[in-house]
């Protein structure tokens, strides 16, 4: 993620965040394992098959689903196709540039995709029209419109909510429209390490101060489905275990409160 690109984080702010962390508090008053306020509005774009407008603190993203029929991958002839793409729009942050996806947006999209895919959230086998010939292709596109940290979690919530609200256009294939077959609700929890502390749902300022990032995506059964360590720093194994515990506890709350 961008570090100090929108101008150097003021030294006063930096010192304040670090001082607060030593007292077990965040710069914005949150606890270390506390998310910012979450708001999810589904069917924000009725033209899409499914959509969601997600606010995670001041981070805002719009996720939209489009479903078309097409050919399956040759190695999975009896499964529909799911693809995830993230656009970091230039409107979202002073240093985001237009153009093809860069390594940051690719990493976010792939981590989000892995969490959704590996939790088997959608039953892709129910998206076959004609085996090996014709299946539904689910395109999830995420537009990041306002960036204040933790895009992976905001995007995962957006994809999940948009998919949950999506209608498959079965009537175009001579059948009936139906909702996407959902089996599982994975939750990703992203944490960063600042000094020796691990904090969840980092703001941009916290991301800039942090040395390393880790995302842990857990499904309803409490199993790990996807993980990604990011940024130039490192974690001890104990810190990773702690991160898994935090993700498991915090993720459960988020699933119950916002996603079910």
């Amino acid at each position: 993620m961008p570090r100090d690109e929108a101008g150097v984080l003021s030294e006063i702010k930096r010192d304040y965040i670090i001082k607060k962390l030593k007292e077990g508090k965040r710069g914005d008053g949150r606890g270390l394992d506390e998310f910012r306020e979450i708001s999810i509005q589904t069917n924000f774009v009725p033209r899409a098959a499914g959509s969601a407008f997600v606010k995670l603190g001041r981070t805002k993203i719009v996720a939209g689903v489009k479903i078309e029929s097409g050919e399956p991958f040759p190695d999975t002839p009896n499964q529909g196709v799911l693809t995830t793409n993230v656009e970091l729009l230039p409107m979202a942050f002073p240093t985001f540039e237009s153009g093809p996806p860069n390594e940051n947006s690719i990493e976010i999209a792939r981590v989000v995709d892995r969490g959704i895919r590996e939790s088997k959230m959608i039953d892709l086998e129910k998206l076959v029209i004609e085996p090996a010939k014709k299946v539904y292709i689910v395109f999830v596109d995420i537009n990041v419109i306002d960036y204040d940290g933790n895009l992976i979690d905001a995007c995962t919530m957006g994809v999940l909510s948009a998919l949950k609200s999506a209608i498959v256009p079965g009537s175009k294939e001579g059948g009936k429209d139906f909702t996407l077959p959902i089996r599982n609700l994975p939750v990703s929890v992203t944490m960063v390490k600042i000094g020796d502390e691990i904090v969840v749902d980092p703001s941009v300022e916290e991301e800039q101060l942090s040395s390393a990032r880790v995302t842990v995506t857990i499904s309803e059964d409490g199993h790990l489905r996807a993980m990604q360590k990011g940024d130039a720093g490192s974690f001890t194994l104990d810190e990773i275990r702690k991160a898994i515990k935090i993700s498991s506890d915090t993720g459960k709350l988020i699933r119950e409160k916002y996603l079910q």
């Binding site: 996806p101 390594e103 590996e118 409490g222 790990l224 990604q228 360590k229 001890t236």
Partner: protein
């Protein structure tokens, strides 16, 4: 992870498709200085993986806006040759290789004393000539050796290894079928001395207990892999000393 299948990956004797035990690594061979032009290089064979790594730099970072006034940036480029896999891969970076390049760069910058080279970049070119599962961690393991063989100051070596789940069992170092038809994959990059985690990705389905078991296996294997890295480098530096008239 791969698709469900009827293929049995562990037989009644507890052995895997290639005859390995759950905690056995595939054969690993590392050579240094296999390329003449590069500042440092290494070649690794890990099971059926054949991977070449070249290091250039430290040299002035370009384009200029990428320079960091405090340290060198590590630019790893992981690339799969068109002929490295069963079906020809379209040459050039795809989304997967962009992501892998990013996580490998981040992992290596923990080991290199980047603060000694402000405004510089160090290029690490990882070319997968033949892929056989676990290319990212084999590439990372070799990249670390190539950096050391280039004489770049390092505080540690990064060692890569994976563990995964096949037929419901945690095993070390997934092979190709195991990767395709297994239930989980956990590639990690670990600093050999401090044991810190500098690369970690995971996909599939692991319980927390299974994760602990997998990391335990990886940590144990790291020692063995690190020994192979050290041997490769020792070979180089001993012969260098002999050339210069040492004993």
């Amino acid at each position: 992870m791969g698709t469900a299948s009827d293929i049995k990956l562990i037989d009644e004797n507890g052995l895997r498709v290639d005859g390995r035990s759950p905690t056995e690594l595939r054969p690993i061979k590392i050579e240094t200085d296999v390329l003449d032009r590069a500042d440092g290089s290494a070649y690794i064979e890990w099971g059926g993986n054949k991977i070449m790594v070249a290091v250039y730099g430290p040299r002035e970072a370009y384009p200029k806006h990428t320079q960091d006034i405090e340290k060198a940036i590590i630019k790893a480029r992981y690339n799969m040759a068109a002929f490295s896999v069963d079906e020809r891969k379209r040459p050039g970076p795809d989304r997967r290789s962009v992501e892998i390049s990013k996580v490998i760069s981040e992992a290596l910058s923990n080991a290199v004393m980047v603060e000694q080279f402000p405004r510089a970049q160090i290029d690490v070119f990882i070319e997968v000539l033949q892929a056989d599962a676990g290319t990212r961690i084999a590439g990372l393991t070799a990249a670390s050796v190539a950096l050391a063989s280039a004489g770049i100051p390092m505080r540690d070596l990064v060692v890569g290894c994976t563990a995964g789940k096949i037929d419901g069992q945690i095993v070390l170092d997934l092979g190709k079928e195991e990767d395709n038809f297994g239930q989980a994959d956990l590639p990690m990059g670990i600093l050999s001395k401090s044991g810190k985690v500098v690369l970690m990705q995971m996909d599939g389905d692991l319980s927390v207990e299974e994760f602990d078991k997998a990391t335990e296996m990886i940590l144990d294997a790291i020692k063995r892999i690190n020994e192979i890295q050290r041997q490769a480098l020792a070979g180089k530096f001993i012969s260098l000393a002999l050339e210069r008239g040492g004993e």
